[in-house]
């Protein structure tokens, strides 16, 4: 066997390993969808059936009408949209201040913000909760939405700052010569040039809010105000052994996140790669 042949066989071997790995990765998701389309009888059949027959679309109708999932869906959309907008505006403003304006105290503040990424959320959880409670905001969406408008998270600021720093400064000077201020530079030069980075931030913020569990869990008390993640947990408590309905509900919660991922795939991979670059 020549070296070339050996290399070819080795490459094929690793390719098959990757292929099997990716199938294992997809299997839980396939099993989720399979189970969501079966009736009780099919689910309990041993050995298990791989393809549902007949396909029970009715599970989705049942699962979605038992609890007001359409309401949860709207609640989640509302919170998520509001937070994505807040994060995009305030994190880009802050990143601009950290990257394109020279001022005293900039580095100190930036270091503080970055080190807050390593702070366990549990430390600030309880006083923040007590604070909101004292303000009478317990049970409202305020605790879930207001923080997004205060910089939108250290990671997003960091990511945008890195991106802004790569844009040539000549453009800023040209605007200043024309009599424009910093807000104009921010809105008319930096933001339009940073579309890919802003999309990354928007996508991650969407997913984080869509998937958030702890904050809604501690701040929301009325079932009508629940988010999807919380509704799903409630559903689990009520229909513990009805796997077909639980899988149908899970699929519904998963689908929007999945759609966002498929649409923004390229940006996700690029964005997550940026995370590890400068550590």
């Amino acid at each position: 066997m020549t070296i070339k042949q050996r290399r070819k066989i080795l490459n094929l071997f690793w390719y098959i390993v990757l292929l099997i790995g990716s199938l294992i990765c997809l299997l839980p998701l396939y099993w989720l969808i399979r189970s969501s389309l079966m009736d009780m009888g099919q689910i309990f059949t041993m050995p298990p059936i791989w393809i549902p027959n007949p396909v029970c679309w009715g599970n989705y109708k049942d699962a979605l009408t038992i609890l007001p999932f359409h309401k949860y869906f709207l609640n989640t959309i509302f919170i998520t949209t509001f937070n994505v907008i807040g994060t995009l505006i305030t994190s880009s403003l802050c990143a601009f201040g950290f990257s394109r304006i020279n001022w005293k105290g900039r580095n100190v503040l930036f270091t503080c913000v970055i080190s807050s990424m390593m702070l366990p959320y549990a430390v600030t959880l309880i006083p923040t909760f007590i604070g909101w409670q004292k303000l009478g905001a317990y049970g409202t969406y305020l605790p879930l939405m207001v923080p997004a408008w205060f910089g939108g998270g250290a990671f997003n600021i960091f990511l945008l700052r890195q991106f802004f720093m790569s844009i040539p400064k000549d453009l800023d000077e040209a605007t200043i010569v024309d009599g424009g201020g910093y807000f104009r530079i921010w809105s008319q030069i930096i933001l339009p040039l940073s579309r890919p980075a802003l999309i990354v931030v928007g996508l991650f913020t969407f997913l984080n809010n869509w998937n958030d569990f702890m904050a809604p869990l501690i701040y929301l008390d009325n079932e009508r105000n629940y988010t999807l993640a919380l509704g799903l947990q409630l559903f689990k408590g009520m229909y513990n052994a009805q796997w077909h309905l639980m899988m149908a509900a899970s699929t519904v919660v998963l689908l929007p996140a999945l759609a966002i991922f498929v649409i923004g795939q390229r940006y996700f991979i690029e964005g997550i790669a940026l995370t590890g670059m400068k550590s």
Partner: protein, 311 residues
């Protein structure tokens, strides 16, 4: 001559004005995060420490200062759950973090070649990380079901011993670590980006010198990747020690508190038992543990992390 002096003076004034303007606008632009940092990070952090020195309860009429009593009671072992949850959390982190990093790194190595469908593979491996944790937990509760779950069914058909997985104290943490492995694609993508930055020339030079794959891994890949490995290690530890949602949904901390993670313990004390003071003390213990571990990793990193172009 006179005009030259004036222009110089004018220039100085002009510069001063620019600097002043920059100072003002710099503060204004970063105002959201500086306020946010004070309101949502620094303030609560200090408040949390103060609360941890009191017996604060939400419903109580008055709360009093108790000094270090909360801490003393925690460490004295009067509440056996404190040490138990510490043990659970560390056992889990020690299993799941190395497992995750190794798998992610191995996958990234395999992916770091030219082959057809690379982008599709990458997306597939990344996919599980975008599934909401609540949904992930439900899917895996179903897969790990002792009687009807897919995994035990496969084991049974292969005539292998089955397991009770999350319903038995000795297997609950390994089961959760296994489930966590499903989401190693996020770490893998970071590793992959790092691998792509390793200069090819290095491998070519090593090949000319007659190195095999193992030499290349030990002498080129690992040293060149050390800062990425370091980053993932720190983040892995920080996240692993704060696991909460999975056990809240799948096991409610059981069986026999076998998956009572530290944050879950804190959650119970704070939001089910209303022991806010004690919960803050628990939070500070976690904070100090994470801080100490991070510092330890940072300290030792000087000897094993290689930063390009440094020193």
């Amino acid at each position: 001559m006179a005009t030259a002096v004036t222009t110089k003076k004018d220039y100085k004034i002009h510069r001063y004005q620019i600097e002043k303007r920059q100072q003002i606008w710099g503060v204004i632009f970063t105002l959201p995060v500086s306020l946010g940092f004070m309101i949502f990070t620094l303030g609560p952090m200090l408040a949390s420490f103060v609360f941890s020195l009191t017996n604060y309860r939400v419903a109580a009429a008055h709360n009093s200062f108790v000094g270090l009593e909360n801490y003393i009671r925690l460490f004295s072992g009067k509440d056996p759950l404190f040490y138990k949850s510490l043990r659970v959390t560390f056992t889990y982190a020690l299993m799941s973090v190395p497992l995750n990093l190794t798998f992610a790194f191995g996958l990234a190595m395999l992916m770091n070649r030219d082959f057809k469908g690379k982008a599709i593979f990458r997306s597939i491996y990344y996919l599980p990380t975008i599934v909401p944790v609540v949904a992930t937990s439900l899917i895996w509760t179903w897969l790990l079901d002792p009687d009807l779950g897919l995994i035990n069914t496969i084991l049974r058909q292969l005539n292998l011993p089955t397991s009770k997985f999350i319903y038995q104290e000795s297997t609950v943490l390994p089961s959760l670590a296994l489930m966590n492995l499903w989401t190693c694609g996020g770490t893998m993508v970071i590793f992959l980006a790092g691998l792509q930055d390793v200069p090819r020339v290095m491998y070519e030079a090593a090949e000319i010198d007659g190195s095999n794959w193992f030499h290349k891994l030990i002498y080129i890949t690992l040293p060149m990747m050390s800062s990425t490995i370091f980053f993932n290690l720190v983040m892995g530890i920080i996240n692993g020690l704060q696991t909460f949602t999975q056990s809240f949904i799948m096991t409610q901390g059981g069986p026999n508190n076998g998956s009572l993670f530290f944050v879950y313990y804190l959650y119970r004390e704070a939001f089910e038992l209303q022991e806010m003071g004690k919960a803050c003390a628990i939070a500070w213990v976690l904070f100090i543990i994470i801080f100490a571990l991070t510092m330890l990793v940072f300290r030792t990193s000087r000897s094993w992390v290689y930063y390009e172009g440094e020193r």
